[in-house]
């Protein structure tokens, strides 16, 4: 019922507008097209300036309402992200000045030079000096922006500092799997054909001793002020590790590992205080369309200090030991059973080694 009512109202509004429009056309024919055109011109010329003024007020008002809800109002949670922020501010300043100036000129000219019988049009087909000026000046400004941008770009995509830690991130429809290299600091090899959702979600190859201490988690734990290098991959379609608080992002592509590094500089708890939001949490958002559950592909990062990190990691059991509990040195061992289990994965193809 409300549906029909809405449609009826909309149709009614349409009819009214149409009748007014038609009437005004008849009036303009009666008055003489020249006169009515000039009247229209005056009205629209005025509206041009009105639009400029109201538009700029709107820009200010929008900023007032929403600036506080953007990340611009928060400090970057990573050292590198702070450079993104400062670059953003420089770019806003440059483009903002150009925006205001050109929009002002556009609508002001439209108003000022609206049709007037007394004005003689200035025949002005070209002017080489002017054209050189507005080719060269933008080129110089853009060069500055490019230089700033590329310096940051090469820092972001370059090698992380020596003291960095590594975490492997694997995307799948529709969640994230994190792997830590364990005490030996090296990841064990994996092969996608070994994947088994119940027992081996990453397809780790148990023949590789390096993998025996690898830890798999569902939350990513990072250490404050310690650079972290993410080694990113995907099990199925393309995903994207979106880290808005750290101002970073990298695609997860099946078959082609990518990397990304940054240095977290506030713990989750510190961010809770800084943002005055007790529910604050670092989130990983999937930023590349990956299927119907794309919007729910959420990961959580917990940034803690070193002591807390050591405590958390000490509690994690390597994947190898949860898969083969009998190999756990803290438990009694049945050697026959283990031998049988060990033989099993070896029969699978390991071409990717």
């Amino acid at each position: 019922m409300t549906m029909f009512l809405t449609i009826a109202v909309v149709v009614l509004i349409f009819v009214v507008i149409f009748q007014i429009a038609k009437a005004s056309e008849y009036v303009s024919v009666l008055k003489g097209e020249d006169i009515s055109r000039k009247q229209n011109n005056k009205v629209n010329g005025f509206l041009m300036v009105a639009f400029l003024v109201l538009g700029l007020i709107g820009v200010w008002y929008c900023n007032k309402l929403y600036f506080g809800k953007t990340l611009m109002a928060q400090e970057s949670a990573s050292v590198e992200g702070a450079r993104v922020d400062s670059m953003l501010w420089i770019t806003i300043a440059v483009t903002g000045i150009v925006f205001i100036a050109t929009q002002f000129i556009l609508f002001w000219f439209a108003y000022k030079y609206q049709e007037n019988d007394n004005r003689k049009v200035f025949y002005f087909p070209h002017n080489t000096n002017l054209e050189i000026v507005w080719t060269v000046v933008p080129a110089i400004v853009l060069t500055v922006l490019v230089v700033i941008g590329l310096r940051n770009w090469f820092l972001f995509t370059g090698e992380p500092p020596k003291n960095h830690m590594e975490v492997e991130v694997t995307g799948k429809q529709f969640n994230w799997i994190f792997r830590y290299p364990g005490k030996d600091g090296a990841f064990g090899k994996k092969y996608y054909k070994n994947i088994d959702d119940a027992t081996n979600e990453l397809g780790l190859l148990w023949d590789d001793q390096l993998g025996h201490d690898d830890v798999i988690t569902t939350t990513m734990y990072l250490v404050k002020n310690k650079p972290v290098k993410l080694i990113i991959g995907s099990r199925d379609v393309i995903h994207d590790v979106g880290l808005s608080h750290f101002r970073m992002k990298m695609d997860a592509v099946p078959g082609i590992p990518t990397t990304l590094w940054f240095t977290p500089r506030y713990t989750t708890n510190e961010m809770k205080e800084m943002t005055k939001n007790p529910n604050f949490v670092y989130e990983i958002s999937c930023d590349q369309m990956c299927g119907n559950g794309h919007y729910s592909m959420r990961g959580v990062i917990d940034v803690v200090d070193q002591e807390e990190y050591d405590v958390i990691m000490a509690k994690q059991k390597p994947k190898y030991l949860t898969t083969f509990p009998e190999k756990d040195p803290s438990k009694p061992v049945d050697s026959v059973k283990v031998a049988a289990k060990m033989a099993e994965p070896a029969t699978k193809p390991i071409a990717k080694l």
Partner: protein, 604 residues
């Protein structure tokens, strides 16, 4: 010189052809089918492209209204949605499957069917022969085929909406492996097959059209119409056609490989995939290869959409300022620079795919370089207005609106083209705001400007002015209200293509804003219906055009009869003696291109 000689022979040939044509016309009665359906008259084909484009614009726009309902009112239920969409809106609530299908189809349709076929298909067909002084296109038959391939593509795309597993739903860019594997998403099953078939037909349509446009512009200009006397519309449409002809085949090759991966077990794009509990045998492919092939078209495509609008805006601004376009040669030069650079920046869509950082840096440089010719164009448009005598026809209003939107959207391109900022803003609402303003709405404004300006030539009637003004003011205000705040959502890191933000601590603070945007989107959509009504009503009942040249313009199309038949000029094609922008010269309001240069005329 030899160039002149070439011109002469060609115009002679054209004249001969014409005589043949005319006698043809006299002897044969045109049937309904040959006049309105399988017409070979470029003007009728233009109208076919326009009206098909409008159909898709309404459908694509309606889709955006539907998915904006979900973003704006995620908790509300709309029982009527279930009446329309059935299982796709169970309980009056759009499902994620339907949401993504709507988003994908909206993108595909608006980019290709509306802003490529609807825009350059319409105006290249309508304006090229009329403004260069030709009887018709180089090949009217291929031109007709171009439309019918587009029509078939439309039918196939439309049919994909009705298949049981739904239309393709992996985003208009159709990145594999998502688009390659039916197991990854239901939309990637039959829906994707139909999507690919439709797009392949569309590529054929674009190529047939584009080759024709290029051939006509280069070979069929009337006597005296040298390349530097062409209106800027024609220059823009020329570069558009060149871009399309050189880049659509690359997209097509990308699609062929995708079809092979989907159906014949190849591994061009597939590697190391475990899906639905099964490890696929494909190894060694690269999902990124598709992105290179796609964006090699995808980026020029942006300019295929934008350049015709730029060309028409240049023409309309000059005519209605009663003043020559400022820097005609610089305008051509900047169009040329944009066309070249369009081919050299595709990887700026791929900064975060793990692209080689050095390669990325080259693409940053080339991308930001585009801002230079863009800036030249903007400053030249502004100078064209300066000390002019501006008439606010509805066409002129939309042209001014185009410049405003092009500035707003172009400037945010400087943010996104800089890879170190893109790494933060990529795939957020900032990108959505950027490309909708600069490519979507701006080009729509160019299209509206063209329709309002050339409607009298198309149908011999005027559109209603009052409705035109209402259309303009609501649309420009609405477009800014929709897309301006989206920049803020993007700066909050809010990802695009999300069905629901309520589970996200980082992105759930924009509920009210999303509702506001959705509401404005509905109002703007309703206003477009007002335009649509104005369009069809005026074709039949509009105020009649009684003068040959209602805007006082210099270009050749206004020298044709009020309702030109097939062949455009009843007698000989007029000869051209000057460039098209002699407005306000030596105290004369305008001097048509067909007026010989007077002995005492000043030189500039």
């Amino acid at each position: 010189m030899s160039n002149e000689a070439v011109l002469h022979t060609h115009s002679d040939a054209a004249v001969h052809e014409v005589h043949g044509d005319q006698s043809h016309e006299h002897h044969h009665h045109e049937t309904f089918i040959s006049k309105y359906v399988f017409s070979q008259d470029h003007k009728m084909i233009a109208k076919q492209f326009l009206i098909t484009g409008m159909f898709w614009a309404v459908l694509g726009g309606l889709m955006s209204v539907l998915f904006r309902l979900q973003i704006g009112y995620p908790d509300a239920t709309f029982p009527w949605l279930e009446d329309i969409l059935g299982k796709w809106a169970k309980g009056g609530h759009i499902t994620p499957e339907a949401y993504y299908a709507l988003v994908t189809t909206h993108g595909t349709v608006l980019v290709f069917f509306v802003l490529t076929a609807g825009l350059s298909g319409t105006f290249a067909n309508f304006l090229i022969p009329l403004q260069v002084g030709a009887r018709d296109m180089a090949s009217p038959f291929l031109n007709m085929l171009s439309y019918w391939f587009f029509f078939t593509a439309s039918v196939v795309m439309l049919s994909s909406i009705f298949v049981e597993t739904g239309p393709f739903s992996g985003g208009w860019t159709a990145y594999p492996p998502l688009s390659a594997l039916g197991d990854a998403s239901d939309g990637s099953k039959t829906g994707m097959d139909l999507w690919l078939v439709s797009m392949a037909l569309f590529v054929v349509s674009s190529l047939l059209g584009g080759l024709n446009y290029i051939a006509t512009i280069l070979n069929m200009r009337t006597k005296g119409m040298s390349m530097t006397r062409l209106p800027l519309t024609i220059w823009a449409l020329f570069f558009t056609a060149v871009l399309g002809v050189l880049s659509f085949p690359v997209l097509f090759s990308g699609f062929i490989l995708l079809i092979f991966d989907r159906n014949f077990g190849t591994s061009f794009y597939l590697s190391d995939i475990f899906i639905k509990g099964v490890a696929l045998p494909n190894e060694g492919g690269s999902a990124i290869l598709y992105q290179h092939l796609f964006w090699f078209l995808g980026h020029p495509e942006v300019y295929i959409i934008l350049l015709p609008a730029m060309g028409m805006v240049s023409e309309i601004l000059s005519v209605n300022s009663r003043k020559p376009i400022f820097g005609y040669m610089a305008m051509i030069g900047s169009l040329f620079a944009i066309a070249i650079l369009a081919f050299l920046v595709w990887a700026h869509h791929m900064f975060v795919t793990g692209l080689n950082p050095f390669l990325g840096s080259i693409f940053v440089l080339l991308t930001l370089l585009i801002a230079v010719p863009s800036a030249i164009k903007v400053f030249n448009w502004l100078t064209t207005l300066w000390r002019g005598n501006v008439r606010f026809t509805p066409g002129m209003m939309f042209a001014i609106g185009f410049v405003s939107l092009f500035i707003s959207g172009g400037l945010t391109g400087i943010w996104l083209g800089n890879s170190a900022l893109d790494i933060h803003l990529h795939d957020t609402y900032f990108v959505v705001a950027h490309f909708h303003i600069v490519m979507g709405v701006a080009s729509m404004f160019g299209m509206f400007a063209g329709i309002y300006h050339w409607f009298p030539k198309m149908y011999g009637k005027y559109l209603n002015n009052t409705l035109g003004y209402i259309h303009f003011w609501v649309t420009i205000a609405g477009a800014y209200m929709i897309f301006w705040p989206m920049h803020y959502e993007g700066l909050a890191g809010m990802p695009r293509r999300y069905y629901d933000y309520s589970i996200w601590e980082s992105f759930k603070q924009f509920t009210e804003l999303n509702r506001f945007i959705s509401t404005v989107a509905m109002i703007v959509f309703a206003t477009q219906l007002l335009f649509l009504f104005n369009f069809f009503y005026s074709i039949f009942k509009g105020r009649k055009v009684t003068v040959l040249n209602p805007w006082g313009a210099n270009t050749l199309e206004w020298t044709t009869p009020l309702r030109p038949g097939h062949g455009n000029w009843p007698g000989e094609i007029p000869e051209v003696h000057r460039w098209p922008y002699d407005y306000g010269k030596d105290g004369q309001e305008f001097i048509s291109q067909t007026t010989p240069v007077g002995a005492d005329e000043s030189h500039h």
